[in-house]
Symmetry: D3
Subunit: 327 residues, 6 copies
Amino acid sequence: MPGKKQSSKDSVMKDIPQSTPAPRYSGIATFMRMPLVQDPSGIDIALIGVPYDGAVEGRPGARHGPREIRNMSSMIRTIHHSTRINPYKLCNIADMGDVPFTNVYRAEEVHNDIMNYYQKVHEAGVVPLSAGGDHSISLPILRVLGKETPAGLIHIDAHTDTNDTEMGFKFSHGTSFRRAVEEGTLDANRTVQIGIRGAQNSEESWDFSKESGMRVIFMEEFTALGVNGVIDQVRLVVGDGPTYISFDIDGLDPAFAPGTGTPEIGGMTTVEAQTLLRGLRGLNLIGADVVEVAPPFDPSGNTALVAATIMFEILCLLAESIALQKK
Amino acid sequence: MPGKKQSSKDSVMKDIPQSTPAPRYSGIATFMRMPLVQDPSGIDIALIGVPYDGAVEGRPGARHGPREIRNMSSMIRTIHHSTRINPYKLCNIADMGDVPFTNVYRAEEVHNDIMNYYQKVHEAGVVPLSAGGDHSISLPILRVLGKETPAGLIHIDAHTDTNDTEMGFKFSHGTSFRRAVEEGTLDANRTVQIGIRGAQNSEESWDFSKESGMRVIFMEEFTALGVNGVIDQVRLVVGDGPTYISFDIDGLDPAFAPGTGTPEIGGMTTVEAQTLLRGLRGLNLIGADVVEVAPPFDPSGNTALVAATIMFEILCLLAESIALQKK
Amino acid sequence: MPGKKQSSKDSVMKDIPQSTPAPRYSGIATFMRMPLVQDPSGIDIALIGVPYDGAVEGRPGARHGPREIRNMSSMIRTIHHSTRINPYKLCNIADMGDVPFTNVYRAEEVHNDIMNYYQKVHEAGVVPLSAGGDHSISLPILRVLGKETPAGLIHIDAHTDTNDTEMGFKFSHGTSFRRAVEEGTLDANRTVQIGIRGAQNSEESWDFSKESGMRVIFMEEFTALGVNGVIDQVRLVVGDGPTYISFDIDGLDPAFAPGTGTPEIGGMTTVEAQTLLRGLRGLNLIGADVVEVAPPFDPSGNTALVAATIMFEILCLLAESIALQKK
Amino acid sequence: MPGKKQSSKDSVMKDIPQSTPAPRYSGIATFMRMPLVQDPSGIDIALIGVPYDGAVEGRPGARHGPREIRNMSSMIRTIHHSTRINPYKLCNIADMGDVPFTNVYRAEEVHNDIMNYYQKVHEAGVVPLSAGGDHSISLPILRVLGKETPAGLIHIDAHTDTNDTEMGFKFSHGTSFRRAVEEGTLDANRTVQIGIRGAQNSEESWDFSKESGMRVIFMEEFTALGVNGVIDQVRLVVGDGPTYISFDIDGLDPAFAPGTGTPEIGGMTTVEAQTLLRGLRGLNLIGADVVEVAPPFDPSGNTALVAATIMFEILCLLAESIALQKK
Amino acid sequence: MPGKKQSSKDSVMKDIPQSTPAPRYSGIATFMRMPLVQDPSGIDIALIGVPYDGAVEGRPGARHGPREIRNMSSMIRTIHHSTRINPYKLCNIADMGDVPFTNVYRAEEVHNDIMNYYQKVHEAGVVPLSAGGDHSISLPILRVLGKETPAGLIHIDAHTDTNDTEMGFKFSHGTSFRRAVEEGTLDANRTVQIGIRGAQNSEESWDFSKESGMRVIFMEEFTALGVNGVIDQVRLVVGDGPTYISFDIDGLDPAFAPGTGTPEIGGMTTVEAQTLLRGLRGLNLIGADVVEVAPPFDPSGNTALVAATIMFEILCLLAESIALQKK
Amino acid sequence: MPGKKQSSKDSVMKDIPQSTPAPRYSGIATFMRMPLVQDPSGIDIALIGVPYDGAVEGRPGARHGPREIRNMSSMIRTIHHSTRINPYKLCNIADMGDVPFTNVYRAEEVHNDIMNYYQKVHEAGVVPLSAGGDHSISLPILRVLGKETPAGLIHIDAHTDTNDTEMGFKFSHGTSFRRAVEEGTLDANRTVQIGIRGAQNSEESWDFSKESGMRVIFMEEFTALGVNGVIDQVRLVVGDGPTYISFDIDGLDPAFAPGTGTPEIGGMTTVEAQTLLRGLRGLNLIGADVVEVAPPFDPSGNTALVAATIMFEILCLLAESIALQKK
């Protein structure tokens, strides 16, 4: 295992049962059954929950996402079946718990809390893989990760989230990436939006994406290109610059992920989404999130399983990317 | 039918199928299948939805309450089986739709919208029967109804909702009645809180209720007194002054009303709640609300039916009260 | 906006909150948040509920379809993301409520009620887009729309619905299109049935479809042709004659639409269904229905969302078709 | 075991696994895991399913009742815990399957099928214990059991089911007992209705019950009398004449039995219902039914368990009654 | 706070967010949001999960109980509303995680694992409050707690769990307390079983309970005595000897706790159960468990909330009992 | 109908209503509404339930599979829509009930019970089509069917089930096919595993499959080959030797089959699975099973419908295969 840092984590790790021998339904539900730590030192990748859904204009519930994703993530084992990557062998990975909030009734303050929290994580040299929460959480994360160099973005979603406002509000979950471009933390020219679909009340968000330089792959083009064609486009757009992945669970068809606030029919299958993600190996990845899982709308609990598996797919990408950089 | 006002409503009424002959599953879901109107003139009692849950500190979902209560209210017919009151014969009753909001991301602004809306309803001489929404909506309603004379309150709930703040916020759904006392729209000495139970992190809310002069009937005393004993206490407390009824659905045991954000076991049965309400005939009632129905936590939909039936029980009380005053 | 008729609707329209600014969970649930009207004059397209499931031989529940489709249709916005059609700019569109029934215990009488209701709609020059209800409702609708000229039909379904009888009954939901051919309101030679699959107890319905001249595209041929190949077939069959679209939700795989009475696995995806519908632009469309949504079998509510979105796809087709004719 | 008839059942019995040793989740789901027979000869008590809900004016689904009650009845064991009655030791008991229907689209024809079926059962000297289906099924059963002597009736329900018509129909599930009185198969003076509640659109059904001589115990009187007081009333009313028990599951509060078409809050608990039934020992019982279980509205399946347990309570009553008569 | 031990726990505690200020849906789900520790030294009361259901003869799922109870226990705050006990002020309380198992396919080996685990807890002087798991887990716990002095038992349940075997097995969840008596760890004369009901296939378990000297309060006697009468009986039976509380969630009526493997209708309400528990203050309590919560049968999740609240009620009893002994 | 054996079944058949005329929701739920028999003589194909899930290491519930598959199988009619095979015309088919178990607490004993049961079925010349239960049941079935000649295997699954042990156990549901190879009842060189995916904690199971000679088609290769390519591979591997089909429902994506214990996202669609099965006509088939349906995780019940339909697809294959051999 190349270049693992010294870890202060080991002393804490013993408090959590090891993942493999214990039955999957037993033990405390941390992300991927990883140790729960507070100090990021010694960690390569932090799994972080951001239980906030106050910036939603429709159906709430994503605040319950991290809990249920943690719960279902116990089902995920360690070695990826097609790439044979075991991220836990490549990197030190831990669950850092949930971002603490000082005032959950003000989106802007929550966003500040998130920004401050990720600042510390980032300063410790740790790559964050987050579970939302609504999509507004990507904005404060990008404020940290895209601060020095505007980030490239691989954005899987039914919606471009580039409205100017939603219901009069500039920091709703449908405005994140427009704000990030305006704030200079997101590089629109290195941004690709995949799976976009569903009616809108105005064309402004689609227009903004296009005019700002983003590459928008509507669902129809996705089908026409095929996943491999899409992968080619993504690589062309983001190149080898620092790139963030933001996976809104509603990028998938609601048959695959019903538990979300703004489902749009006619979306990706999980086979397509997984194939897409596996096509992103070797990129320069700086972090990722999986957002908009709303357990109250998920009677079978499988949306949380989907999210946990998507997190594992991304975790493999991040771990390999970090391991390569360490060499 | 004594004293019905002239109604401008009739012209609108024809747009809604009449309630009795049509099957209950058919037609547009308005409250009690009443006509939908915008102009309060000519109405005696307005059924109003307040789809807001942004002041919740726990599980959201009550914003979906008015829709589902409307939906299930189609099951409720017209003549009360024990009192034989038919409120539709005593009063002009209409569904006035939902309160419109200008900024759903700020509780204070939502509360202002509610206050302004109810001000118009109140000025038209209409008695409001509201469906929440979280319990914070009672505060702006009381700002209107208790403006001239502080209102008495019959408050059925698991919680006193008299915290100073919740998570640092003064206008959360757990602070409404403390704020109302402070603002002078609620008369603590004419307030009775019924069904209180469940652990708290501090005793301050219980203390405030007591020290401000409210009569708090914890669930244990409820059981000891029996419903008739409770009714006696209520009448003693509120007397014949103007009185508001606020029914938080979590006053009921979650076996009867699982679909709510902060369920507390060990609560009232529906038999007890209905008996209690029927004991309130003849009071001077100025309005009422039924709040905290959260459909995403209600797989069978029966919590919305409970809420609709409780609304009907209260509607009978209000109608009789109004009819008596008209005479 | 070309050729809008003068509308008597505007006076009613004000009673319904406008769709865009209000949160999607608020307000009365009409189809697509459109105004509710009773008088068809001035309307181009009427959205009509037909809450009847008494002609089902299996699992009931489609009588609850219109309510839940209305409810979920609040999620649908106004501009189609790929065609950029905004149907509300092209046509006057309203919710006309549900068809009233005189005797819900007799399918034949219900069918008469439906026929009489649509006769008035048709005479007012209004194109109906209906939400069932079971599939038997298409028969009385065709009695009106195919009266002068037998209609062509684009029929998406798992079943041909061309049995002679079901359980001894000639007007069940599995016999509609045989009856319509026999009654002379459906042109079998201009009928295409798409997505057919699932075992039958006799081959008679498949045989009738074939022998009467219908083009039957079983699911296997659907897969083999691909959606674009199917679109070619459809256009070949229906030509430019007057054509009706009947979309049985069980044409979709139950993974996408579990809430239906007679689910058959191995069906279309929503991507396929939407692509198919978008391939039908420019046809001479006279009406459409979406049927067999049974909410009691739909724990997540997403089948109603699927149905609402399919209605929106069809609404765009109808609006464009009408707008073209008006020019 | 006193006076068991010679049984032709034994040869069939071997085809069903015996109830006690096999796990409760295994084997074919017959009522109480009893043998399935077609020939009533040799049986004392027949458990019969009547899967019909076409006479419902509201929410359908009771047609699925017999299946799910059978399924959950595997949970019920053999010896009653308080009376220590083992009905299977006192009587020959079998599942006779479901009543076959010739035309499910006509309530009157279904009622004829039921009547003809029960006629054969009755002629074989077998006492029927039926699982509905909607409450309309009691009418044709009474046509058989009350033919020679009008039956007394212990009727547990939220509704009196004595409307003249429902939605214009004389044989709906809300008219059964008025029809039975008119047809002379039900003795109104020996009828007691227990648990009545919920609003009605007219007082006619309550009036009919009263004026025809029925004893109506509204829920309020039920609470006031207490269960033992109610038992006294029941015994007073039905005396020692031949008596039928009809248990509508909506007599229970929907907290206890949510899966039903017309739930009314404020009903009996299961403790109360069981205590009531146990107070009926020694009556002259001629049959019984448990109706209106609608599994599509019963997410947990517990309503079917409630119904199965109520059937077991009644089965003990019937078995003891028969055994006493045999002596 | 009288007599708290020195605690090694504090260093671990910091890894878990403190309970009160964080929103209840955030953070890692430990029991009551208490710190997770492995070393029992310094703890007074350990909250322990025992996720095992292999000794069930019916519906499985209780292995998922500890996770969901932990999840819902975040809803429980710190000060008991009627006794005003704050157990966290009286004692050091921690979540010790789940018992690790070596072979989940053999009940006897699982029971050994449980015994060995609790032996260490017991030797550290820690009082265990456990969440099952099926009821077989009480046997190995009693092997530890009743080793020196046979324990008295307050057993709330629908079933006596004193069968000799179930389906040929001596260590099923229906045999625990007979085995414990035979093994000499349970004092039958100081055992009271409360809420017993539901049919059995033989009378042997009821007979064993009675003949061994246990006081069995069937549900009928429970109703007749009233809760206060039952409390008197309990105190009479257990006296001041060391006493264990075992609360099978199916002691409650399935309306209150549907999520369990062997529901029996006609059980206790939560008001009754809570009143009963509050009547047990001042006893000499040595531990307790809450068992048989089966989340797969609990669509609303409220059974887990009930279990968490019952755990809190018992936690208050244990904490007070320990605090008194320390004085 | 070629070569039907004389059947002793007819005398039993009359006890079950015939499948076609009765409504699908009526009658006793046997597999495909076939007669229930105990004596295999005269049967060609036996439908058998194996309600066991004690060898699961994760989420239990598959013991409830046979019941719910039987229940939903009433929805399946008789003539396959694409092959036009009516298996009931080709063969005598019956439901033989569930395998009886002597000790459900010991997997090895359960496996012996299964083996002994299938031995009798096999000796009677009957081909078994089984519904699990967990995947461990395939091992004892292969002990019978592969005894004389090791069987070839078409294995559809997310997992290879070729672990050496799971949680220390050699007979868990994840070890069946390794054991079968070791025991000599499965021919690894004639085994193809299709749909494999999902992370593992070690590569040993994938390695065993490969090294033993099995052809493993991971999901990625499945997508790349397309279904027809996969069919070619299957035919190449199994040739014309005796071949068993084992269909684990988790081979399908959880969007299509959520009700299973170990769901893995990114699986087959039902269209793919059905196309695959239809490509297997003409093989030398000796039996089949459909396993791992866990109804407690299947809120809509559609997973059981999927399983029943897959059983029907396989039934057609088996019936045709048998009919060809008879000729």
